[in-house]
């Protein structure tokens, strides 16, 4: 079963994304912010990371930069799932190494389609 790490400081968002992915047949791991995600990535292997942008402790862009520094995670697909739609922010995410950018609110079916597309 493919494993997805969801990083969002909102409990409800983690729950909604988690439920959608579980229904789609994925195993889900949750993290409250970028720092929490990095901690979890030291002990578990995931196939995909879905992260929010604005979070306490460590935001999504910083998380991506840190993930990309690790050779084992260099090519791991990372999707941004955020309310932020500014083109400059998207560019920043792309430059940091994001694989894709989804704007909240998300459509469950579209999320599953996007996840299936980016997973190798």
């Amino acid at each position: 079963m493919r494993r997805v790490l969801i990083v969002d400081d909102s409990v409800s968002m983690r729950q909604m994304v988690g439920y959608t992915l579980r229904q789609g047949g994925y195993e889900v791991i949750e993290a409250e912010h970028g720092g929490d995600a990095l901690d979890k990535l030291t002990s578990v292997t995931v196939d995909l990371i879905i992260t929010d942008l604005n979070m306490p402790v460590m935001d999504g862009i910083t998380l991506i930069r840190n993930v990309r520094k690790q050779p084992a995670l260099k090519s791991k697909p990372i999707l941004m799932l955020t309310t932020e739609g500014l083109a400059t922010k998207k560019e920043e995410g792309k430059a940091a190494g994001a694989t894709g950018w989804l704007i909240k609110p998300f459509d469950p079916e579209k999320l599953l389609q996007t996840v299936a597309k980016v997973l190798p």
């Binding site: 968002m13 306490p56 469950p108």
Partner: protein, 337 residues
């Protein structure tokens, strides 16, 4: 959701005209400083509201997930039961399979009964053949009777001729007497055999009649059973068809429910946006509070204004957040006066 790392809302705000307040004189500054605690209260109120919204949305979301899972499980179990296609099919035989098995068993029973009828028909035929053979034996016995009669007549003639021959025919007369005696014994045996055959034929005739009658009744019963089985199987297939239609309806309903839940989940994401907006407002209020406290905070010296012009904070939790004392909490959810 959190906006602590965002700077855009702050940049968008106009600069605070603090110098204008200062120009109004120390009285205005002091007056302004007395309102500072209200900014803190408003921030706390907004944070609490945001937390409450999130908690409610999480609860609603969990309920939706429970509904979706139950609906999915129901459809899966029904599919498994009826068609053997779903998850439940592995542990239980499908309804369609049961009908097929039942149909197979009934056909086997009918065939076995039919085979028994066939055996009975063959037995009737054999008894008929045995009767014919008995008839032939009876014919043969009649011939034996005639032969015996002729032998008796011959012996009588031999005795007459022996009498004519006198002393010379005495030995011949003894043989003739013996022939008559043997012929009589043969006739007795023939009569016994004829009697036995007659008994045998009578027995065969009654058995034949019994078998014929039973076979006829069995054939009628078998035909009746075949009709009933056909009708029952037709009814079961119809019932299965109706249940399949019902299942299709349930499956379609499940798909619609899943779609509705998807839409509801999408709708519930308003909370994330709302929380962010509230967080931005709280952040601005905190910034405003920090700036005003830095400039005028020293003037207030704990002499804050009362609640005139501000919300009444009617809920206990609001009063707790706002730090307004003196109002006792109600003993419970219900209070009679």
């Amino acid at each position: 959701m959190n906006s602590s790392s965002q700077t855009q809302p702050q940049e968008a705000l106009p600069s605070l005209p603090l110098d204008d307040v200062a120009k109004q004189g120390p009285g205005a500054e002091t007056e302004l400083a007395r309102y500072l605690p209200h900014l803190t209260r408003m921030s706390a109120q907004l944070r609490q509201t945001s937390t409450q919204i999130e908690s409610s949305v999480v609860g609603v979301c969990q309920s939706f997930q429970g509904i979706a899972e139950r609906a999915s499980s129901t459809v899966s179990r029904t599919t498994g039961f009826l068609g053997g296609q779903g998850k439940g099919a592995s542990s239980k035989q499908s309804f369609e399979g049961l009908i097929q098995n039942c149909s197979g068993t009934l056909v086997k029973i009918l065939n076995t009964t039919e085979e028994a009828g066939e055996v009975s028909r063959r037995a009737i035929e054999r008894i008929r053949q045995m009767d014919k053979a008995s008839q032939s034996i009876s014919g043969a016995l009649v011939k034996l009777e005639q032969i015996a009669h002729e032998n008796k007549m011959l012996a009588m003639n031999a005795r007459i001729e022996a009498a004519h021959a006198g002393i010379h025919g005495a030995g011949f007369a003894v043989v003739a007497v013996e022939v008559v005696s043997q012929t009589e014994r043969a006739r007795e045996v023939t009569a016994q055999v004829a009697g036995l055959i007659a008994n045998l034929r009578a027995l065969a005739g009654s058995t034949l009649e019994d078998l014929r009658r039973t076979n006829e009744q069995d054939s009628k019963r078998l035909e009746g059973c075949r009709c009933e089985v056909d009708e029952s199987l037709r009814d079961m297939k119809n019932a299965h068809g109706e249940m399949e239609q019902m299942l299709t309806g349930i499956t379609e309903e499940g798909a619609r429910l899943a779609s509705d839940i998807g839409a509801a989940v999408r709708g519930l994401q308003f909370q994330d946006r709302t929380s962010q907006q509230i967080a931005h407002v709280v952040e601005d209020l905190d910034t405003l509070h920090t700036k005003l406290t830095a400039r005028f905070g020293g003037l207030a010296a704990g002499d804050s204004v009362a609640n005139e012009g501000f919300s009444a904070y009617t809920m206990q939790e609001e009063r707790e957040v706002a730090g307004i004392g003196g109002a006792e909490a109600a003993a419970g959810d219900v209070e009679l006066f």
